[in-house]
Amino acid sequence: MANVTQSKVTQKPLELILARNLMSSLSTPAFLVDEGGVLVFYNEAAGILLGKRFEELGTVPQREWGALFGPFDGDGEAIPYEELPLVSAVRDGRPAHAEFTVRSADGAEHRVEASAFPILTAHGSRGALAMLWPSDGSLGGRGANGAGPA
């Protein structure tokens, strides 16, 4: 028999499990928060951006994860946590989109577009998922024309 964890961890809702499975197969950075805004997963591409794999970092409480990649606007001003698309999506239950600059672990700056959408079910909100689209084509996967992620 396998060793099942004695201190029971709450089973994640299926919708988050499926989202994680999908994200794991993507080459674009993607982030997943639960219904309480806790960052519960990010994929390998996001790990490259942050300089740390999710397995090393683990879950990150709400209000803290935004600082992982220090998003700031075109004037170099930090974007408030409440204004991040992922936060809007989980808070308001509607899609959100924004363009901003992130700083990767190696100090390089990347202009990205971020799209976030809420994960809603018959039983209510499960959380939200955000994908980052590198405006400069520098992060993650490749599209059909080689200019960006598919």
């Binding site: 964890t5 089973q11 994640k12 299926l14 039983h123």
Partner: protein, 296 residues
């Protein structure tokens, strides 16, 4: 709990000389609780024989549907107690944003697919969406959770008299996931099957067949065994057999499963291939209930 397999086949009934031993009827499991009351898990064609085995005494029957694919509901209109006015039938199933459980089932129990309509059933029938929280039926605690399959699909866990049964007949937990590496809270169906005394689980495909059926919502044998091993299920019954699998094919799959289970470190004999008509009894672990059961 007493468990009887009335239908072990997946997808479509497959009667014939090649399926005599494991059976050709589609999914249905009868569960007799410690107080003697009866639940049916799914209503595939196997529920017809379950109904024929009952006397016509007034009773309340609960049918717990995992989902509404035809092989899990096609027996409803052939379930004799549904045609007895003295029967109270409570049908549980998954919610859907599209339509109520009653309306979705009524698409099958209506013309031109059926000679009777839901409203014409003589029994007292009600339809209930499974809640997210645990609930009780008689002495049993029931838990339902969404699991990886196509469309809204539930797995069930029934705890009664200290024993537990997990029923996840249509399940593809390894879709896009590495069952060996994922943390347990990220594995579909994990909490339902955790340390269950009996796990009845999808075992539709061999590992060789699975790549051609990726995303169809069913498991390869190897994934079923890994899931059972990760969840520490004490006993596993392979279920929802592919309709093309003959008795001989299932014999071979069973032998492979037993060997691989032992190689995983599992207890010998703890994995079996579900056969129609098979009965299993889960031990009563609660002393007071054990006495009452013995006295009955």
């Amino acid at each position: 709990m007493k468990v009887k397999l009335w239908g072990t086949r997946g997808s479509i009934p497959s009667p014939g000389e090649d399926t005599v031993r494991y059976g050709g009827n589609t999914s249905c499991v009868g569960v007799t609780l410690s107080d003697g009351s009866l639940l049916a898990l799914d209503a595939g064609s196997g529920i017809r024989n379950l109904g024929l085995a009952l006397d016509d005494e007034p009773r309340r029957l609960h049918i717990l549907l995992t989902h509404l694919h035809l092989d899990h509901i096609q027996g409803l209109v052939f379930f004799a107690p549904a045609f007895w006015p003295q029967t109270e039938l409570v049908i549980w199933g998954p919610a859907s944003p599209e339509a109520s459980l009653r309306d979705r089932i009524a698409r099958y129990i209506s013309a031109p697919l059926s000679p009777v309509e839901v409203r014409e059933l003589p029994c007292d029938v009600s339809f209930r969406h499974c809640p997210e929280a645990e609930w009780e039926i008689g002495p049993a605690r029931i838990r339902a959770a969404s699991v990886t399959h196509r469309g809204p699909t539930l797995g069930y866990r029934i705890d009664d008299a200290g024993s537990s049964l997990a029923y996840i007949p249509d399940h593809e937990p390894a879709l896009g996931a590495d069952l060996g590496a994922l943390p347990e809270e990220w594995i579909s169906g994990f909490e339902l099957a955790r340390e269950a005394d009996l796990l009845i689980h999808d075992g539709q495909y061999s590992d060789e067949e699975y790549p051609d059926h990726l995303g169809w919502g069913h498991s390869a044998l190897g994934d079923t065994l890994r899931f059972a091993h990760r969840t520490s299920a004490r006993r596993t019954v392979l279920f929802h057999h592919d309709p093309t699998h003959s008795d001989e094919r299932l014999d071979r799959l069973g032998a492979e499963a037993r060997q691989r289970w032992v190689e995983l470190g599992g207890e010998e004999g703890a994995v079996t291939v579900g056969a129609e008509g098979g009965e299993l009894e889960l031990p009563v672990k609660t002393p007071q209930i054990a006495e009452a059961t013995a006295a009955r």
